[in-house]
């Protein structure tokens, strides 16, 4: 059943966010720390376990994959609801602080990821690139 997949996703979200919220309370912050990150980790471990047990039929999987495929459309909608006007009205200090903090960090990607093992890092699906992951024409 497709709903089982959606339910698994929802359970992961609630458990992960609960961990993030409790962590935030323990550290005295009004908000959650890495709730989405914890949810993602739980999903990885839980679905791996369920797959091994043979409890992840195609239809259950579809309930997760649907939301996975909705990611980009949701992000497009998110981009359309950003406060772009405030960003541009923030003046030169806001513009510089925002842009420079990004530009300065880009060169660090290569340095830190070399240490993270980028040389041997793969998606594990190099033969079967999912549709939409890469432009059709080179």
């Amino acid at each position: 059943m497709v709903i089982y997949g959606v339910m698994i996703l929802g359970i992961c979200m609630f458990v992960g966010t609960a961990i993030g919220l409790v962590l935030g309370k323990l550290l005295g912050i009004d908000g959650d720390i890495g709730g989405v990150g914890f949810s993602m980790l739980i999903l990885v471990f839980l679905t791996n376990y369920l797959k091994q047990k043979g409890m992840m039929p195609k239809t259950t999987e579809q309930g997760i994959l649907f939301w996975n495929a909705m990611y980009i459309p949701v992000v497009i909608a998110m981009a359309s609801t950003q406060n772009v006007l405030a960003a541009l009205n923030g003046g030169i200090v806001a513009l510089l602080a925002g842009i420079v903090s990004v530009v300065v960090l880009f060169p660090l990607i290569r340095i830190l990821s070399a240490w993270a093992g980028a040389a041997t890092s793969t998606f594990g699906d190099e033969e079967t690139v999912p549709a939409g992951a890469q432009p059709k024409k080179a």
Binding site: G20, V36, G37, M40, P73, A79, A87, V93, L112, P135
Partner: protein, 257 residues
């Protein structure tokens, strides 16, 4: 004119989310056509769509002077739900399905380190730029620095240490600029800066942080990078909210008094 507008609203307002689905679907189709035919695949369709989204957000802001971009235009109210934090986070979590555990383990420590480096570098950049433009108060400098971390860390820090509302607004603006800069620059800079594999994506997520920025930036670059980058990025705002009003503020007081 007035009558047809009323009819349109009667049609769409109770179905705002569905209208958003239809509109984003049409927009996506147009942007992928543009990517394919006009740019010959050089600019990814989702990158085009995200930039068009930002333009729509600007237009929405101009028309309504609201804070939620196009979602403040009544016809597009469904965008607030479709692009809001609830569905965004739900979709981000779903991308973790099928992630390779060995990649997570391998890049785990580097991911944590990049989180720390990313937060402090962004903070320092924000402080230096604020200082260069004549800001001298420790509270003001700290708040603007925190804004360069993310647009959530800025106001959280500002209200914790008692910044004035115009400085908090400035810190939010700096954070929103950062988020937009990440969205636009990531697809352009990804290849030359080695953002092509899961390990690099985890480092990138920790360095850049801003969830909305990295979510859109990676989507426009290569969808397979999304779960790895999103995983580390989602810890960033929490970490920033933790260290900016405490460690960073204490260090700032030691330097600037």
């Amino acid at each position: 004119m007035d009558l047809s507008y009323k009819f349109l609203m009667e049609l769409t307002q109770p179905r705002a989310l569905i209208f958003a689905f239809v509109f984003v679907g049409a927009l996506t189709w147009l942007c992928y056509q543009f990517s394919d035919k006009i740019t010959r695949g050089r600019v990814h369709g989702s990158a085009v769509a995200i930039i068009v989204g930002l333009i729509l957000a600007f237009v929405g802001g101009m028309l309504t002077h609201g804070k939620r971009g196009i979602a403040d235009v009544p016809l597009f109210a469904g965008f607030a739900l479709m692009g809001g934090a609830m569905l965004r986070d739900f979709c981000i979590i779903s991308t973790a399905y099928g992630v390779r555990m060995e990649e997570l383990k391998k890049a785990g420590i580097a991911g944590v380190l990049s989180l720390v480096v990313g937060t402090f570098v962004a903070f320092v950049v924000g402080v230096v730029i604020a200082y260069a433009f004549g800001y001298r108060g420790t509270v003001d400098l700290t708040t603007i620095g925190a804004g360069a971390v993310t647009f959530i860390v800025g106001p959280v820090t500002g209200s914790a240490i008692g910044a004035s509302s115009d400085i908090i607004a400035l810190s939010i603006a700096a954070g929103v600029v950062k988020s937009i800069a990440v969205m636009i620059l990531t697809p352009l800079l990804a290849k030359p800066f080695g953002l092509t594999n899961p390990a690099a994506a985890m480092v990138y997520g920790g360095l850049m942080g801003t969830t909305s920025g990295t979510a859109a930036g990676l989507a426009a670059t290569d969808a397979r990078l999304v779960p790895y980058g999103a995983l580390t990025a989602t810890f960033y705002t929490g970490f920033g909210c933790l260290v900016c009003p405490s460690v960073c503020y204490i260090v700032m007081r030691m330097i600037f008094g």
